[in-house]
């Protein structure tokens, strides 16, 4: 807890520092402005060495006395003061909550400080990058998504939880998984398996796949939320576990894997503490069709969007590997995609009893 307090104090200091700079500007009759790192595609680079997506150095000057910036300027400090309040009170809240906390009408106009959550969410991200802090450090969280089971004991907000005894639902991964909230205790797992889909995760949990495979079984319900990503990062680095990712065989699945591995464009500033470049793609591969003798009728045709997306991926520097190029090209050639559930055509437990063990044994993954 002491550590937590320290980090909270540091965050608070950053928030107050940002405000003090503006107050100083006003005293000196200088037009107040805030430099905000640009989060646009143009300011995102792929760091080949670290193999992650990083935010560039471009900054945007947000000025109060600019008709186009004034509103956002005000909102930035509104969110900052709300976060300071949260830290002062030692409470955490959801970003939706924050939206309601800070929403009120402006003076006697018909305008509100925020007209919708889609207006407040980017402001939070702006604030994160500006003072180089994390959403979690601002005591904000997103809604919980993702569950985990496996041979690991964690301490979650002081409660010791044995993740082997989580029933059918698993342990819900909280949005904030920083070490002041989650501490790892005993770990007997050999690797982490992240599944894209809740349904597949259920199948594997029911079959107790994780017991004999000695793995931590995690699902992300689609695109991995920050909590899940941060947890994977911590498990990879603190528990030294390899990460395997099992997603649908379609461009979207590839993208989920890519975000886990290199980070996303929108949260490029978080890549350093979330991206796991060593994460391995275990399936579904476009080659699995032949390899596992799946019937033709389980495939789905790629739609135009899929094709477009796959073509874009060919150009991503982080997919610029021979193996990945072959993978994507095969998909484009076959013009079909596969869902994880397609494996059930070979039997309900085919995935846990044959597919995964086979793949792991043959080291048929991509990195």
């Amino acid at each position: 807890m002491a550590k937590r307090k320290g980090s909270a104090e540091a965050t608070k200091k950053k928030l107050v520092g940002l405000a003090n700079a503006v107050v100083r500007d006003i005293r000196d009759e200088v037009d107040p402005s805030v430099a905000i790192p640009s989060r646009s595609l143009g300011n995102v680079n792929f760091n080949e060495k670290k193999s992650i997506i990083e935010l560039g150095d471009q900054k945007q000057q947000r000025e109060l006395f600019n008709v186009g910036h004034a509103r956002k300027f005000m909102q930035t400090f509104l969110v900052a003061s709300a976060c300071k309040e949260l830290i002062d009170q030692g409470k955490t809240t959801s970003i939706r909550d924050l939206y309601y906390m800070t929403k009120h009408s402006l003076g006697n106009t018909r305008q509100n400080t925020f007209e919708g959550q889609e207006e407040s969410d980017p402001i939070i991200e702006d604030l994160e990058v500006t003072i180089d802090t994390l959403r979690e450090e601002l005591n904000l969280f997103a809604s919980n998504r993702g569950s985990m089971v496996g041979p690991l004991t964690v301490v979650d907000s002081g409660d010791t939880i044995d993740l082997r005894r989580m029933g059918s639902g698993g342990w819900s991964v909280p949005s904030i998984v920083e070490d002041h909230v989650i501490q790892f205790r005993k770990c007997e797992a050999k690797y982490v398996l992240l599944v894209e889909k809740d349904a597949v995760w259920r199948r594997l949990n029911e079959d107790k796949f994780w017991t004999h495979a000695k793995c931590l079984l995690l699902h992300s319900q689609g695109m991995a939320p920050r909590g899940v990503r941060r947890l994977i990062y911590r498990m990879h680095h603190e528990l030294k576990l390899p990460i395997y990712v099992l997603v649908d065989n379609d461009p979207w699945g590839f993208y989920i894997y890519s975000v886990l591995k290199q980070g996303s464009i929108n949260l490029a500033y978080e890549s350093v503490r979330m991206a796991v470049p060593a994460a391995r793609f275990i399936g579904l591969s476009s080659m699995d069709m032949e390899r596992f003798d799946l019937p033709n009728n389980v495939t789905m045709k790629l739609n135009d969007q899929d094709i477009q997306r796959a073509k874009q991926m060919l150009d991503y520097p982080w997919f610029n590997k021979r193996t990945w190029q072959r993978e994507i090209r095969t998909m484009l050639r076959n013009k079909v995609k596969l869902e994880l559930e397609a494996l059930s055509s070979r039997g309900i437990s085919f995935i846990s009893e044959e597919y995964l063990p086979q793949k792991l044994k043959d080291k048929q993954w991509l990195a």
Binding site: A19, E29, D31, F65, A70, R71, F73, M74, A80, S81
Partner: protein
């Protein structure tokens, strides 16, 4: 009956006369003559066949003098008595013109009372009373009972009346339609008795016939009262007596008027806007520029001067001995030559020499403008607008007559968004749904012109001017659109009307050019106002944005840093003001709360877009409300209320 053909031949109505033979002639003549017959030749063809119709002697028996009164009896439309509604207005107009002229010539600040009494549905009694100098007893019958009798025709001096037809024609019209005599009461001084006459006009002889003549008790110290009963109809609207008097008030801010309308409507009191009499217009001699050859010949022939140079110097304005010599030199005519013995060739050379010599513009004193200041005050008195602009042009000359153009305009304010209505008093101020055409009011020597707008050179000058650069929409070849009243005043020693009814000014290029220059002068002021208004609105909007956010920002900053809230807030507001054009602009923008005009809305919309891409609510509403065609019952009710309010206000002032 028999004289009708002759009469129409004599009066300008030659078109029918000529078209008749033309229609017949081609049938019979085309065989012999391949080319169309000349107009002179054509009438002969039918006549040759029908020799039995009339001999020259027989025709001579029918040829006799036509009295002017007789002529106008048959052509009353030439004097503005074409229909009952117009007749009523013309009668009021002639009486008011005479009264104002008389007062001004005597140096008396005019106070007029105008009454319209309804006798029957289509019969009205017009009573106009002034505080003028009165009329000498002997002159009364002639002035009111004889056409073309007056003091204003034979001189070059700016006045409302010109020909000496107006009031006697009105009396004649009344007499023709109702059989009632004109009643005139006049008193020249408190020490003299007041004389009352009842006069009818003998149309054959153009002579007054006195029916009753008496002395009466009259409480008025000096002045004249004219009563004419005539067939007429009282109508509200743009061409009503009510609208006319309001316009008279604009152009005559020194006149006080009380108006008692018929049908029990509330009397209207129009107080003076100034107690200063307009300067007395001077009488002048013709100016050499623009004098026509025939006129020059006549002036030289009639000259009493011995030398040509002397004639030029004394019978024309602004000709000095130097100028006279120059003219003679350029024309190669001896300055000492006798003006009466000059040959036609010499006169023609003189005529051509005049434009080559630089001659001063005619005296300004002879044409008296209303004045920029008083035009604005006149407009302010009658119209509630945001902007009043006026321009008085320097004098100019057409056909040797000096004239001055004045332009005034009122923009915005109540001219905006009012719906159309039949209420006469307000008609002046509308036609002004902000998208509709502007209201043009025309004056000639301070007299409002209400009919034949499109035949008038003022209208031509306005429609020929491109108003778009000045911020008004304008359909091709039409009046500009916008919440605006445009006033144009032509003052001249002789206003060239297109007809005796004095409804439209003839298209003299010099006059049109000057009007256009005046319009542009006002247009520039209007556009700079509109731009300033836009800029201020923009700044106000920006300031509004800043001010709203500054409050919020300060609250957050205080929470974060614990800084002094008040100090921070004042400092930020000060900075915001600096960024939006300073305090002055702020104060101005606060005063003006008007909305932008359609033409300029685009720029406004650009600024109005805040981060949400939303327009402020009032802007949106303005966008959605289209120009309302027709008049709704609701609009009518609202307008009625306004009339009451307005007259009340006037009553208080008066």
């Amino acid at each position: 009956m028999s004289s009708s053909g002759q009469l129409s031949l004599l009066c300008a109505d030659t078109t029918t006369e000529r078209s008749r033979p033309k229609a017949v002639a081609p049938k019979r003549v085309t065989k012999q003559e391949p080319t169309p017959p000349a107009p002179e030749k054509a009438p002969r063809a039918p006549r040759a066949k029908k020799t039995h119709r009339l001999s020259a002697e027989a025709m001579a028996a029918q040829q006799r003098e036509i009295s002017v009164s007789e002529f106008f009896t048959k052509n009353r439309h030439l004097l503005g008595f074409d229909n009952p509604a117009k007749a009523l207005l013309t009668t009021v107009k002639e009486a008011v013109d005479n009264s104002l002229d008389a007062c001004e010539e005597a140096g008396i600040l005019p106070s007029l009372t105008i009454m319209l009494q309804e006798v029957t549905d289509d019969r009205y009694r017009v009573v106009v009373e002034d505080n003028g100098p009165g009329i000498v007893k002997q002159q009364i019958p002639k002035i009111f009972g004889k056409l073309l009798y007056g003091s204003k025709f034979h001189r070059l001096k700016q006045s409302r009346g010109q020909q000496g037809i107006g009031i006697s024609a009105a009396g004649m019209y009344g007499q023709l339609t109702t059989g009632k005599a004109v009643v005139i009461t006049s008193r020249t001084s408190p020490t003299r008795p007041a004389n009352q006459f009842e006069i009818v006009l003998n149309t054959r002889k153009n002579q007054p016939e006195i029916i009753v003549e008496r002395q009466i008790e009259w409480q008025v110290e000096h002045g004249t009262r004219v009563e004419i009963e005539l067939q007429g109809t009282y109508k509200a609207g743009r061409n009503s007596v009510d609208a006319y008097l309001e316009q008279v008030a604009i152009a005559n801010p020194h006149a006080k008027m009380s108006y008692v309308p018929p049908k029990g409507k509330t009397p209207l009191h129009l107080p003076r806007a100034t107690d200063d009499m307009p300067p007395e217009p001077g009488e002048i001699k013709p100016h050499p520029y623009g004098v026509e050859l025939g006129m020059l010949m006549k002036l030289l022939k009639e000259s009493k001067n011995r030398s040509l140079a002397g004639t030029l110097q004394h019978d024309f304005s602004r000709v000095t001995s130097r100028v006279a010599e120059q003219i003679c030199e350029v024309a190669s005519v001896r300055p000492k030559a006798s003006p009466r013995t000059l040959t036609l060739a010499e006169i023609e050379r003189l005529y051509q020499a005049i434009p080559k010599v630089k001659i001063m513009a005619p005296q300004t004193s002879c044409v008296v403008p209303i004045g920029e200041e008083l035009i604005r005050r006149g407009l302010e008195r009658e119209i509630k607008a945001d902007l009043y602009v006026s321009a008085t042009r320097p004098p100019s000359v057409y056909r040797g007559n000096p004239f001055r153009i004045e332009v005034g305009l009122a923009y915005g304010g109540e001219l905006r968004s009012e719906t159309e209505d039949d209420e006469g008093l307000l008609e002046l101020k509308n036609g002004d749904r902000s998208q509709g055409p502007i209201t043009l009011i025309r004056f000639a020597n301070r007299v409002p012109l209400q009919y034949q707008q499109s035949a008038c050179s003022i209208f031509k000058a306005v429609t020929d001017t491109n108003w778009k650069p000045y911020g008004l929409a304008q359909p091709r070849g039409g009046l500009p659109h916008g919440p605006m009243v445009l006033l144009v005043h032509v003052a001249s020693v002789w206003v060239p009307f297109t007809s005796e009814s004095k409804e439209a000014i003839a298209h003299y290029p010099e006059i049109i050019k000057e009007i256009k220059l005046g319009l542009r002068e006002c247009g520039r002021k209007l556009s700079s106002y509109l731009r300033r208004q836009e800029r201020d609105k923009l700044q106000a909007k920006r300031r509004g944005i800043f001010e709203v956010y500054v409050g919020e920002l300060v609250a957050s900053l205080v929470k974060l840093t614990g800084a002094d809230q008040k100090r921070l807030h004042t400092q930020l507001l000060g900075m915001a003001q600096k960024h939006t054009g300073g305090e002055e602009a702020a104060a101005q923008a606060d005063l003006r709360s008007s909305r932008p005009d359609g033409a300029l809305r685009d720029t406004a919309a650009q600024i109005a877009l805040d981060e949400n891409g939303q327009l402020p609510p009032d802007e949106e509403e303005a966008e959605q409300v289209p120009a309302k065609p027709g008049r709704s019952a609701k609009g009518r009710g609202a307008k009625k209320k306004k009339v009451v309010r307005k007259t009340k206000k006037k009553g208080q002032r008066g």
